[in-house]
Amino acid sequence: MNLYLLAPEISLCALAVVVILLDLFVGRKWIVGAVSIAGLVVPAVFSVLLWGSNQTAFGGALVIDQFAVFFKLLFVAIAALVLLSSTDYARRFDAFRGEYYALLLLATTGMMLLASTRELISIYVALELTGISLYVLAGFLKDSKSSEAGLKYLLLGAVASAVLLYGIALVFGLTGTTDLGEIATAISAGGIMRSPALLMGIVLLVAGFGFKIAAVPFQMWVPDVYEGAPTPVTAYLSVASKAAGFAVILRVFYEALGPASVDWSTIFAVLAAITMTVGNVVAIAQHNIKRMLGYSSIAQAGYLMVGLAAVTSTGSSAVVFFLGCYALTNLGAFIAIIAISDKIDSDEIADYSGMIRRAPMLALALALCLISLTGIPPTAGFMAKIYIFSAGVNSGLLWLVIIAVINSVISAVYYLRVVKVIFLGKPVSEERVSSPRSLQTALSLACLGVLLLGVYPWLLLRVAETAASVLPTLVP
């Protein structure tokens, strides 16, 4: 039992405990934040050290390969950026600051486990660890909106977990094993490929995971939870939770359900088309910026599912690359919103009017990230879309790619509307909007990443392709 393989998760857990204890004893709260951010270096270093070692532990339940390590590093990076940007926002949590940091770290631990496991029950456990931390975090502000968000997320999340468990049970019942590789062998060998029970199991798994990635029709929780939760938590949810969801979908569907790929690729293609369209069209009507970004993230999940439906290795590496670019872009947008909304105490788009005069750097960063989300060069979002659409065209899903590009145009309506309001509108007041150094650092890192990947995408593309190459090839 090689515990060294679990070192990133163990160290992250230990960090969470240290943060809680520190919060009890330390009077100057900024130390708690600083420790939690600085402490993230430890799991990051462990993850980097694990790169290249292809090992399994706990009887195949835990697996350390490039896919797992990539996502571990991605989650640590997301957590670092979110924590950096929320040290000032955290003052709203009064006495519970330590718990806020600790819960974020624990959620990250759950996600790291989620990407590294090859066994259905471990997936479920890791999913619950992440989920419960996030349910609490969603309700952290203790006002009516936040409590509603937390409760909604909990209830709907519980239902989704139950559905997922039912799907797992069905698959287990059919194949007799919960190990992903063995499930694949059992499916292709045992002649159960056409059985309705397997199809039912696939559908239930799609439903359970679909909740996590906010695919239509499992997306009802997104707008309310995104609007009500504290903005850093929303940022974290929109990026890390989605990345974790897609990571586990890639694992489960490529490794376990690979032989049945004809079935689930069609499901994902149709869901992708519906998700993008619903997300983009409803986003146009929003006037609260967090809600709008919630619907936008639903649409982005739709684009990601195009890569899933393209059951090729280009498809899976496109999904991983898109997740990396999307993480940077969406975080950049949300960090800017954390800074601005915190000071002007409003989440309404109309109150962002003329922000270019009041907070030029923040407004420019927000505009850059929105332009990247639309998919206009030279940004990371554009490169991600090109790659994922080319994966779609390559696997014969031309109809889906046409729907996707039209959706990109529709999305321009609401993204550019915010850009317009920021640049053209009359400022509501002449007060400058300041932001703490830590947040500016996080924002600069995100924007730098967006621009850099827009011009040199192979920086991330190479890593993404290596990560995705771990998954079995389903269609040559």
């Binding site: 060069p377 030279p378 065209v393 039209i406 145009v409 550019l416």
Partner: protein, 494 residues
């Protein structure tokens, strides 16, 4: 490796934009001078390229190649040939003119010049790229600067026009991207030169070739614009600030025509021949409809905008008549129209600045009060209607001669004659406009309006000189254009 002229020309404006954005203080004069310097250097370098271009060689010159995204075979590939070189020089020239036209801007000067220079980089990149993804990236880069420039510094329904422009162009680009990706997965490369030599028409099924052709055609059709995708143009041109209208009409529209020749004629000549009758018909409708609509306009700027629809119809006719002479004429018309309409919009801007009036019924008899502007405006107007000794005549003559004698499209003679009617209508609206606005009895409310000052005289006279030069000696351009167009049409057996 020799000095990378093309990359320098393309990226100098954006470096200038970044410098302007980072300039401390709010001294407008410093920003304008910086913008002028960067665009002037780009222009001079493009002239160097123009004069050192070897007219005997076919194929792209000043090529710069670097591997960019190996996993999908995208290269950083730049090069100019006889087709793109005149357009590149036109872009740098109009970029410099636009900076001079914008000299009197005083609202948010820093952002204005930053967006303007970024826009110039985008357009230059389109003309110089020889890799389809690079081409597409630069094609999209110009969207946001245009949106910002029109919606902040424009007039009238500026936000509506800006959004309309962006959405129309995005839809076109979306279709174009799908076509480009399809093409890549059939052919295996994004390199435009290699693709042109592959003879894809015979390799692909006719369904696939037609699908790719039409997807990409829609992208260019929105840009050129081709009737019925033209409705964004009058709004965007009219509501944009003067310098932006100059660039929009002068160069942005040409991206569509350039793309059609380079990609559609170069890579799919057979498919182009199959669909040429429909497209030529659309071209003629565009010419006549555009001219008819222009006759009805009462806003001076909108009149010039609609006339662009008509003139771009000539370009489309020349391209899809598929003969050497007509395509050469189309390219010459693109350059000539860029100069003429750029000048016309600049003049409209001057008239508006001096008299604060754009409505034709309210203007009148200005020849007494502003003689210099009137003379230049009249010359520009005559060039627009195709008076011999102006570049407008040279270009239109080549287009009509080429399309009338084309052997590729059945019944093209009828279309050509109908298009020539458009010239008559053109004479109608130009002369009528000149009479109503400038000639006739002077109105007292315009007594004492200033005429063009020295800076304005410089750039307007320069443009007039160029229009005359090309009109009297078109070989200065047609020699170069021919070397670029001939290889592309060779596949048609011409």
């Amino acid at each position: 490796m020799s000095f990378p002229y093309l990359s320098t020309i393309i990226f100098l404006p954006v470096i200038g934009a970044i410098i302007i954005a980072l300039l401390p203080g709010a001294n407008p004069r410093r920003m304008k001078l910086t913008a002028a310097v960067f665009t002037a250097v780009s222009f001079v370098l493009s002239l160097v390229v123009f004069f050192t271009f070897d007219r005997g060689l076919a194929g792209p010159q000043f090529v710069e190649r670097a591997s960019w995204i190996p996993s999908i075979n995208v290269q950083y590939l730049m090069g100019v040939d006889g087709l793109s070189l005149p357009l590149m020089v036109l872009t740098t020239l109009l970029g410099l003119v636009a900076v001079f036209v914008s000299w009197n801007i005083n609202l948010r000067v820093k952002e204005y010049f930053a967006w303007l220079l970024l826009l110039e980089t985008g357009i230059l990149g389109v003309f110089c790229s020889l890799d389809l993804i690079l081409f597409f990236i630069f094609w999209e880069v110009e969207l946001i600067p245009m949106y910002m420039l029109i919606s902040i510094w424009g007039s009238g329904r500026k936000e509506y026009s800006a959004l309309k422009f962006v959405l129309y162009t995005l839809v076109g680009s979306a279709m174009m991207l799908t076509g480009i990706l399809l093409l890549y997965f059939q052919a295996g490369t994004f390199d435009m030169v290699v693709l042109a030599g592959m003879g894809l028409d015979s390799v692909l099924t006719s369904l696939m070739a037609s699908a790719i052709f039409f997807l990409i055609f829609i992208g260019y059709a929105v840009k050129l614009p081709v009737f019925p995708f033209h409705t964004w143009l009058p709004d965007a041109h009219t509501d944009a600030p003067t310098a932006v209208s100059v660039i929009l009409a002068g160069v942005l529209l040409k991206m569509g025509g350039y793309g059609m020749i380079r990609v559609l004629l170069g890579i799919f000549p057979g498919t182009a021949r199959d669909y040429a009758p429909i497209i030529v018909a659309l071209a003629v409708i565009g010419v006549l409809y555009g001219a008819a609509a222009t006759l009805r306009q009462t806003d001076l700027k909108r009149l010039i905008a609609y006339s662009s629809v008509s003139h771009m119809g000539f370009v489309l006719l020349g391209i899809f008549a598929l003969s050497q002479v007509s395509v050469t004429g189309a390219v010459l018309q693109m350059v000539s129209h860029g100069l003429i309409t750029g000048l016309l919009f600049a003049m409209v801007g001057l008239v508006y600045e001096k008299t604060h009036e754009r409505s034709i019924p309210k203007l009148g008899g200005l020849a007494r009060q502003m003689p210099v502007i009137v003379v230049v405006f009249s010359v520009a107007g005559f060039a627009a209607l195709g008076l011999p000794s102006t570049s407008g005549f040279a270009a239109e003559f080549l287009v009509f001669l080429g399309s009338f004698s084309s052997t590729m499209v059945a019944g093209i003679q009828v279309y050509t004659i109908l298009a020539i009617l458009g010239v008559v209508l053109g004479a109608g609206y130009i002369l009528w406009m000149l009479k109503r606005v400038f000639y006739g009895p002077p109105k007292e409310q315009y007594d004492g309006v200033p005429d063009a000052d020295r800076r304005e005289k410089i750039y307007t006279f320069a443009l007039v000189a160029l229009i005359m030069l090309i009109g009297i000696y078109p070989a200065v351009l047609t020699d170069i254009i021919k070397t670029g167009v001939a290889p592309l049409l060779a596949a048609l057996g011409l």
